[in-house]
């Protein structure tokens, strides 16, 4: 399947999910368990995406300049840097480490 198809699937799913909140009877989603799953899903997916983008290269685990980007971003976040600054710090760390010869 081509990428456009899956982009449109993702967009439709996202909109219908948002709309669902406005259309279904309240009690369906006020269930504490549903709210908790929505919360843990968000945390779990973001944690997974962070790790996968740091160490996975295809099906292999590779430690390279991306690990430096992770550490640098964590330090920036620790000092309450705004999101865009964190992203730039991550890019600079990876680019800098590559200049120094890291993979």
């Amino acid at each position: 399947m081509n990428v456009w198809f899956w982009i449109l699937v993702a967009c439709a799913a996202a909109y219908l999910t948002k709309l669902l909140g406005y259309l279904v009877p309240r009690k369906w989603l006020t269930n504490a368990r549903v709210a908790r799953v929505a919360g843990t899903l968000t945390i779990g997916l973001l944690a997974s995406l962070t790790v996968a983008n740091t160490v996975a290269t295809g099906q292999e685990m590779v430690l390279d300049a991306r690990l430096g980007a992770l550490v640098a971003a964590a330090i920036a976040l620790r000092f309450k840097a705004p999101f865009l600054v964190v992203v730039i710090v991550g890019a600079s760390a990876a680019a800098g480490l590559r200049l120094l010869g890291a993979a």
Binding site: I43, A47, N53, V55, A56, Q59, G68, L84, A91
Partner: protein, 253 residues
């Protein structure tokens, strides 16, 4: 009597959060083209999907060599929290007719947080619409700027854009790690990802982690703080003491 729009606290907060959030559309645009999507596909995600976390998830899976199906799956699962936000906003703002369909599209972390941070119903409405529509416009403009810039950059690795993606995901995760339960959930899901990487195709480890996360939410941590994981990426009301999560705000009125 409501204050006029120029002095409205809801509109003012909405506008400042729109600028802060809209700007980081640049990073999405640049990372999206470096993941292999073209400028049109990148803009389509910002226009139609319009949910930062889900958009980053989609391109994060594609960048790692994952299939379109895995990317769409990760994006859809990360968007589930928006249904909970929609329910809260419906109870808070009662949009009618076509407004309900427009409100749904701009239902995101920041518009919810801006709205629930106000106490006056008029301000809640203004906060929601100014933040939601403001972010929509700026996010799309800056996505395009980032995409065109990213296209001109050449080799994304030389510029450390893979490191930027890592930083972006950590930046989205960070504000959500306010409790021990949230930290434990993140750690378990990170571990599940690492264990799954060698055994399944790229992108699928993220879906494995989603299953683990859902199981933790469904079966575990009965007594964790309400609404954890549902914090906005950018806090509209930053203060020295922080702020309770948006779902702790009174949504039932």
């Amino acid at each position: 009597m409501p204050t006029d729009l120029r002095h409205s606290p809801g509109a003012r907060v909405g506008l400042s959060i729109a600028v802060a959030t809209g700007l980081y559309g640049i990073s999405f645009g640049a990372l999206s083209v470096s993941s292999g999507l073209d400028v049109w596909q990148t803009s389509a995600l910002s226009l139609l999907l319009f949910s930062g976390g889900s958009q980053f998830a989609f391109i994060g899976v594609i960048a790692g060599g994952g299939s379109g199906a895995a990317a769409a799956g990760a994006a859809a699962l990360l968007g589930i929290r928006n249904a909970v936000y929609g329910m809260q906003l419906n109870a808070l703002l009662h949009p009618h007719g076509w407004r309900r369909f427009a409100a749904a599209q701009v239902t995101i972390d920041e518009s919810l947080a801006t709205s629930t941070g106000q106490t006056d119903p008029v301000e809640q409405k203004r906060g929601f619409w100014v933040a939601g529509l403001g972010i929509f416009v700026l996010w799309n403009v800056f996505t395009l700027v980032g995409a065109l810039a990213g296209d001109a950059l050449g080799d994304p690795k030389q510029w450390g854009l893979d490191g930027a993606a890592v930083a972006a995901f950590l930046g989205l995760l960070w504000p959500r790690l306010r409790s021990r339960e949230a930290g434990a959930t993140a750690a378990v899901c990170a571990l599940a990802t690492v264990l799954a990487v060698p055994f399944v195709p790229p992108g699928v480890p993220i879906l494995v982690a989603a299953v683990v996360a859902a199981a933790i939410g469904w079966f575990g941590f009965r007594h964790g703080p309400e609404g954890e994981g549902l914090e906005p990426d950018v806090d509209p009301y930053p203060g020295p003491q922080g702020r309770p999560g948006p779902t702790n705000a009174p949504a039932t009125r």
